[in-house]
């Protein structure tokens, strides 16, 4: 049975003018690490707060462990919540913060002390038990916040951009630590983030959200390898978008005519003849050679810009039809190209995605917020 079920939930603000969550339905499985991923203002924090009971839905139902919880206050939902700003009580030391949950639930002192010690040892901060929040670093505060959220025995952990306020290196370390904690304790976690690398690294499944709606739910691999919408293809990873029309369709796939009468073959045969489409190809899917090369899906161009990024080199190549594509190649794998060099790029048909051209235009579809 699903741990958390969200059924046709909507939430509006500003007397109905702002639709923060728009008819969202989700199922999060027991012991799953689930992320809500999307740009700022997409409704992911609102959805998390609805699940927590901090706000009530205008429409729809929320179930936790099969029970309808719409009218159940947060203190009775059996959740733990890690806030973006940690919300450690400034007038209490680490120990009092962590044992707050057991105390307000009237656990006896022995139980409270035992769980307090266990939680602090788990996050390696037992020796800082007497410290006040303002005496801790950002990473320490975050670990105390997690320990506090878990101390009252919650089986469902909600995290609202828990790593947002930390520097890059600490973020990288702590993301795995949080996942490890959740898995060791066999919890269900719902993690809100706008960082797609973070979501991809630690999640069992991810829901991509935009403008209050869930666009796609899947494992990180599914979202990356098989995006169902242009926005998902652009938000999860990077992609080049080329406009064109379906010139022909057969059993093996379709041929698209891009701008400048360039023709490429794709495997997607579900589009209609003459339909305006958008072809998406990830930068790492391209191959690139110096000069002219006769290969499938060959496109001629010239290197306009080059950037060294450590493990990859990144080229911006102006095609003969004036479209600009980004190509990334492993630094040590191939010979580097020079700016101004004439090149041929190509991509395998099975490593591309074809989308119907959006009614509001491609630019509007790609805007994150």
């Amino acid at each position: 049975m699903p741990e958390v079920k969200v059924e046709n939930v909507s939430k509006k603000f500003g007397q109905g003018k702002i639709v923060a969550v728009d008819n969202v339905s989700l199922q999060i499985r027991d012991k799953e690490y689930f992320s809500l991923l999307g740009p700022s203002g997409c409704g992911k924090t609102t959805l998390l707060r609805l699940i927590a009971g901090l706000i009530q839905p205008d429409e729809g139902n929320i179930y936790i462990e099969g029970k309808l919880v719409n009218n159940v206050p947060p203190e009775d939902r059996g959740i733990g919540f890690v806030f973006q700003t940690y919300a450690l009580f400034p007038h209490m030391d680490v120990w009092d913060n962590v044992t707050y949950g057991p105390r307000v639930k009237a656990w006896n002192t022995q139980q409270s002390n035992k769980i307090g010690r266990e939680m602090l040892e788990m996050v390696r901060l037992y020796e800082r038990a007497k410290a006040l929040p303002h005496e801790l670093s950002g990473g320490m505060m975050q670990r105390v916040a997690v320990a506090r959220a878990l101390s009252a025995g919650a089986k469902l952990l909600l995290l609202d951009e828990p790593l947002g306020a930390l520097d890059a290196k600490i973020r990288l370390e702590l993301r795995y630590e949080i996942r490890r904690l959740v898995k060791d304790l066999e919890l269900t976690a719902i993690h809100v983030t706008h960082d797609q690398a973070e979501a991809m690294a630690i999640s069992d499944r991810i829901a991509i959200m935009r403008k209050g709606r869930v666009l796609q739910v899947g494992t990180p691999q599914e979202l990356y390898m098989n995006p169902q919408e242009i926005f998902v293809a652009n938000f999860v990873g990077e992609a080049n978008f080329l406009e064109g029309y379906v010139e022909s369709v057969n059993e093996t796939g379709a041929v698209l005519e891009l701008r400048g009468r360039l023709h490429v073959k794709v495997l997607d045969k579900n589009k209609n003849l003459g339909e305006k489409v958008v072809l998406a190809v990830r930068p790492e899917a391209f191959e690139v050679w110096k000069g002219h090369r006769k290969v499938q899906n060959a496109l001629s161009g010239q290197v306009e810009r080059f950037r060294f990024e450590g493990t990859n080199v990144r080229y911006e190549i102006r095609l003969e039809n004036q479209d600009l594509v980004v190509v990334t190649r492993p630094t040590l794998a191939v010979e580097w190209l020079d700016v101004g060099e004439k090149v041929t790029v190509s991509f395998p048909p099975d490593k591309s995605f074809v989308f119907t051209y959006p009614s509001k235009g491609l630019r509007e579809e790609l805007i994150a917020e």
Binding site: E75, F83, T85, H91, D96, Y100, V104, K105, A106, A149
Partner: protein, 551 residues
């Protein structure tokens, strides 16, 4: 000289360090010579008289009783103000009704009303046949300690509510949310987390209510039950009023009130932040029940009933005799300045004249002090000391301050009473202006000043084009508080002058019967004072809003 020429001249002058030094020095000297030192020296000049009180055991006992009554009343009233004011503040800050704006405005009424108006209104409502006593066939509350308690409760109540509403609105609700997600019901979350974080505001509101209760004179004299030089309730201000400001007993009581008040405030300021609220113990079942909707609703109902029937209605009751005075011929008499009304208009003009002069002087001489404190121009330690010292007039009873100033200035017989009145009112109101302006200036980032200077602005231009526009609202608010406080001031006026009567002092005489005035006369006299106060408030608000719209 054209305006441009004047600005250029002032720029040139303000660039000279010596001129800035003299400007700041004048403001500091003004503060010490006119505000801080006179009361201290006044007490010292009369110190040899203090011993006389110990030769009269009954007078000594009476004086000590008055002192205990002052502090006891202030302490008790402040506690019940905080206990009663907090639920209303919560209701206003967290409520979702469209009527909350109206409620928020109504809460300020006892604060805006001149205290003599409030005192008379309370007297009519609780102790006169035409008030609530008419429902019971007997006087419900006679003038005395209970009526004084109600009066002090009512005029300090808005202060507590205002401070706590502000604190609750500034409070980061995420702490309460965190507490709820950890299993705490709303009441537990509020008690163990919110109140602890808001403790500084609780302490501030307690201190302000305490100071206000300690200082209040005019209205207290009205409701203390004074009959032929004896009072049913005698606190420090009433004692000084009855024994005469120059008596040895008055010197003794003034000194003790000032000294003990200063000590109490110092202790509260130091120990207040260390006060630990009970947050460890929880009663989950009991507090969960009290957090329920039914109990929350009952709490709101009780809070609102208390506010309407104990605070608002008694405060506004004075409107009844005012309205009846308009219809029964008293109004015509008043406009024709017949009889006692000639004195009334003279007093009213004096009140507003003194208020205007005090406001102007405080503005011009308080501004440099505010800059000194906010920008720490004389070093961090000295600025902090000045910051503490300017609060002294705020925390001592105004009649005691007035009496001690009178002891000092009586050595300079050539100084006219009007000037003494202005000095006393400056002392009482100075901290309000400097506090408002120094806080406003502190909020302006130094980056803005530095950017202005790098672009070539001289000190005067910097002040005129950066500081002043960004603090204009606080400047008007500060000036408004000074003006209304001065017009409303009774205690210091009674202590410092003997022949001049401001409007509040005259009205106290009318109520006590020192001057023969009918109930209609009193009602109308108070009504004029209230209407004019509201009119001044409205004009100032419109002026401020008008200036804001231009930006």
């Amino acid at each position: 000289m054209s305006r441009f020429g004047l600005f250029k001249f002032l720029d040139r002058v303000s660039s000279k360090p010596a001129v800035r030094y003299v400007t700041y020095s004048i403001s500091v000297v003004f503060f010490f010579m006119l505000i801080l030192i006179p009361p201290i020296l006044g007490i010292l000049f009369k110190w040899n008289q203090v011993g006389q009180i110990f030769e009269d055991p009954s007078l000594q006992a009476r004086a000590l009783g008055a002192i205990y009554a002052s502090f006891g009343m202030a302490l008790f009233v402040s506690l019940i103000d905080v206990v009663a004011g907090l639920p209303l503040a919560w209701f206003i800050a967290r409520g979702k009704s469209k009527w909350l704006n109206a409620l928020d405005t109504l809460v300020d009424i006892p604060f805006i009303l001149p205290t003599v108006a409030l005192g008379y209104s309370m007297l009519l409502f609780w102790s006169q046949p035409q008030g609530v006593s008419s429902l019971f066939g007997t006087i419900l509350i006679s003038p005395g300690w209970l009526l004084v308690l109600l009066l002090h409760f009512v005029f300090s109540f808005p202060i507590v509510v205002r401070v706590m509403v502000g604190a609750l609105l500034d409070y980061q609700i995420v702490y309460e949310e965190a507490s709820r997600t950890l299993g705490a019901p709303p009441l537990t979350a509020d008690r163990t987390v919110t109140l602890s974080i808001l403790k500084p505001s609780l302490v501030s509101s307690f201190i302000l209510a305490f100071a206000r209760s300690l200082s209040e004179t005019g209205a207290t004299v009205m409701v203390a039950g004074i009959v032929e030089s004896k009072a049913a309730f005698e606190n420090g201000p009433v004692f000084i009023f009855l024994t005469g400001k120059n008596s040895a007993a008055a010197v003794f009581v003034s000194f003790v009130l000032i000294a003990v008040a200063s000590l109490i405030f110092a202790v509260i300021t130091v120990l207040g932040p260390r006060l630990k609220l009970p947050t460890k113990k929880v009663w989950p079942v009991f507090e969960r029940r009290l957090s329920g909707e039914g109990f929350a609703f009952s709490r709101s109902v009780v809070t609102l009933l208390l506010f309407f029937f104990v605070v608002l209605l008694p405060s506004l009751f004075v409107a009844l005799p005012t309205v009846s005075a308009i219809t029964n011929g008293t109004f015509a008499q008043a406009l024709s300045s017949a009889g006692i009304w000639q004195g009334y208009w003279q007093s009213l003009i004096l009140s507003y004249f003194v208020g205007a002069v005090v406001t102007l002087i405080n503005t011009f001489l308080g501004l440099p002090m505010a800059v000194l404190i906010a920008r720490k121009r004389v070093g961090a330690l000295t600025s902090t000391i000045l910051d503490v010292l300017i609060n002294v007039p705020l925390i001592v009873p105004s009649i005691a301050l007035g009496a001690s100033m009178s002891f000092f200035w009586s050595n300079f017989a050539f100084i006219p009473e009007t000037a003494l009145l202005v000095f006393a009112h400056i002392a009482i109101t100075y901290p309000y202006f400097v506090r408002a302006m120094s806080s406003a200036i502190e909020r302006i980032s130094m980056d803005l000043e530095e950017a202005s200077r790098i672009l070539g602005a001289k000190p005067f231009t910097l002040f005129r084009t950066i500081i002043l526009p960004l603090t204009k609202y606080s400047l008007f608010a500060g000036a408004l508080i000074v003006f209304t406080r001065s017009v409303d001031e009774t205690g210091a006026t009674l202590a410092v002058v003997s022949t001049l009567k401001t409007a509040p002092v005259l009205l106290v005489d009318w109520v006590k019967g020192t001057v023969k005035a009918t109930a209609s006369d009193v009602g109308l006299g108070i009504g004029f004072l209230v209407i004019l106060s509201f009119a001044v408030l409205l004009v100032m608000r419109l002026v401020v809003r008008g200036k804001e719209r231009r930006y």
